[in-house]
């Protein structure tokens, strides 16, 4: 699915990623975590082929990232960005239909009829009632759902998520992650998600890549990476790590200095 081979990247002489190498297998839910400035978002830009690595290679679907045609790539790989969609006067349905762009000829026609697909996606995400409203009239959480509906309309095999929960409250965060997870299972798709919240990453990811200052600290199952020593090395805090009583996955509790 994805193979990253010894990738280096720097901006204006400042190194952002050093010697990154990992693989993502088909059907995996793969997480990328690390503190601010660790290079997570840059790595995602390289994976989505909007920027090129300085050194090393990124293989997508058996071809190097740069060798893909933008439009062919978009029918295979979709990206849900962190920023909510801008309000530009289009209706919810019109924005979701934009996800069909990679499948349309230059006249804007598609081989099949995409209306049932769009209807289904709107239904799944609870947007049917809102479909004729413009984005201006939606809340942040609703907008994020429209963004998700748009990438689903792309019918990708690989979905990249760039800190998708940043602007959402805790209820919407779980809702969004659950929806993505269900969709992934149903479509047998692969997901690579940059996540801020380590507990969320532990709950949803099959494997995790931990980055620090552009270096790769490790790749592995949540239990192998969410360890007190590694968290201290990277984040500089010593959390309490417990086993989730229900999911049996590591969850962190933060410790404050106020009562010590």
């Amino acid at each position: 699915m994805i193979r990253v081979v010894d990738v280096w990247k720097s901006y204006n002489g400042k190194s952002v990623l050093q010697d990154i190498a990992f693989e993502v297998k088909p059907g995996e839910f793969f997480g990328i975590i690390g503190p601010n400035g660790s290079g997570k978002s840059t790595l995602l830009k390289l994976l989505s082929a909007v920027e090129a690595a300085d050194r090393g290679q990124i293989w997508l679907r058996g071809k190097q990232a740069e060798a893909h045609q933008r439009k062919d790539l978009a029918a295979w790989l979709a990206v849900l960005q962190q920023e909510p969609l801008p309000s530009i006067g289009f209706s919810v349905r019109e924005v979701v239909e934009m996800g069909r762009f990679p499948y349309q000829s230059w006249l804007g026609t598609e081989r099949g009829d995409s209306a049932p697909l769009i209807d289904g996606i709107l239904q799944t995400l609870g947007l049917t009632e809102l479909q004729h409203r413009t984005l201006e009239k939606l809340s942040g959480g609703e907008k994020q759902r429209v963004g998700l509906a748009k990438v689903m309309a792309q019918e990708p095999e690989l979905l990249l998520l760039d800190e998708p929960t940043t602007f959402l409250d805790i209820g919407y965060q779980i809702q969004l992650m659950d929806t993505v997870h269900r969709w992934q299972r149903a479509e047998q798709a692969t997901v690579v998600a940059v996540l801020h919240d380590l507990n969320l990453a532990s709950l949803y990811c099959d494997r995790i890549l931990l980055l620090d200052k552009g270096r790769q600290i490790g790749v592995g199952k949540p239990g192998e990476l969410l360890r007190e020593d590694l968290i201290y090395e990277v984040y500089g805090i010593r959390p309490i790590i417990l086993d989730h009583p229900f999911h049996h996955l590591p969850q962190m509790l933060l410790r404050s200095a106020k009562d010590s």
Binding site: V50, R70, V79, P86, I88, F90, V95, G99
Partner: protein, 348 residues
Amino acid sequence: MKARFLLFGGAGVLLLFLSVGMSLSLGSAELPLTQVWGILLHKLPGIGTLITVQWPESAEQIVMKVRFPRVLLAVLVGACLSLAGAGFQGILRNPLADPYTLGVASGSAIGAATLILFGWQFSLLGQWSVPLAAFTTGLISLWLVIRLAHSQGKIHIETLILSGVVAQAFLGSIVSFLVSLSDQVVNEIVFWLMGSLAFRGWSFSVVLLPCLLLGLIILMGYGRTLNLFALGERQAAHLGVQVDRTKLVVLTVSTLLTAVAVSVSGIIGFVGLVVPHLVRLMAGPDYRLLLPMSALYGGIYVLWADTLARTLLSPTEIPLGVVTAFLGTPFFAYLLRKKQRAGKEGEA
């Protein structure tokens, strides 16, 4: 989308025909509308013979030799400028972008003014010489303005407009300098620079029309792509848009449209700002609709502006650029306020 296209397209075409008729009848010699239509229909092959001539020869002279070429030119110039404005706004995602505010019009004027001043209007490429020179300098100034406004991969709305002002002031000084070099053609140049469609004849339409059609076809081919652009450049790239190629093509075509308009009419400001915005208010944000409707309604807008310019203080002509600026600047101010308020809400 199709229904809206037919609705606004049909209304626009109807309005255009009515406006052309009215504009032809207005002027120092008022001609009745029936006469105007009679003369026009008479000129059409096929139906011409069915119409009996019931007008004085002088009326036909006025309509066909004086007013009609000018009316046609006004429509074409307006269509070019509005279409260019819609193109610039689509790529820069900025409702304040327009051939004038971006400094592209002033840039194009340098090339055109240089040729006119040195009397090289028809050297090299005949009547294509001035538009081509205008296109070249227009492209250079657009490149400079965008370079100036660019910081850390982003173009901010305020810096873009400021860069446009800087470019305009600088390019304007060059034009003024060029004008001061020659004392013979000063009047002609000054009047042309302020924007005018007087005494142009048919030949300019021959240059404008193919450019407009070419621009319209190419830009409409990018209609859906510009819709995706409205979501942001990265979003568009993720959806399969070749961002750099789109930018290059649309900006170049918009500059070409600006350049041909400027080389005919001089600098007519704010048309590309006012018209696409009004169309957006009526017909929505879809560029597949916005682009052709901007061209259509832009033609009508400039036709009326020019009709005002030549009739309001007749026999004195008001420069067309003065009329469009008078109508356009309050609009510009309004959009600026609205944008500021939206920006503040966005931060909160």
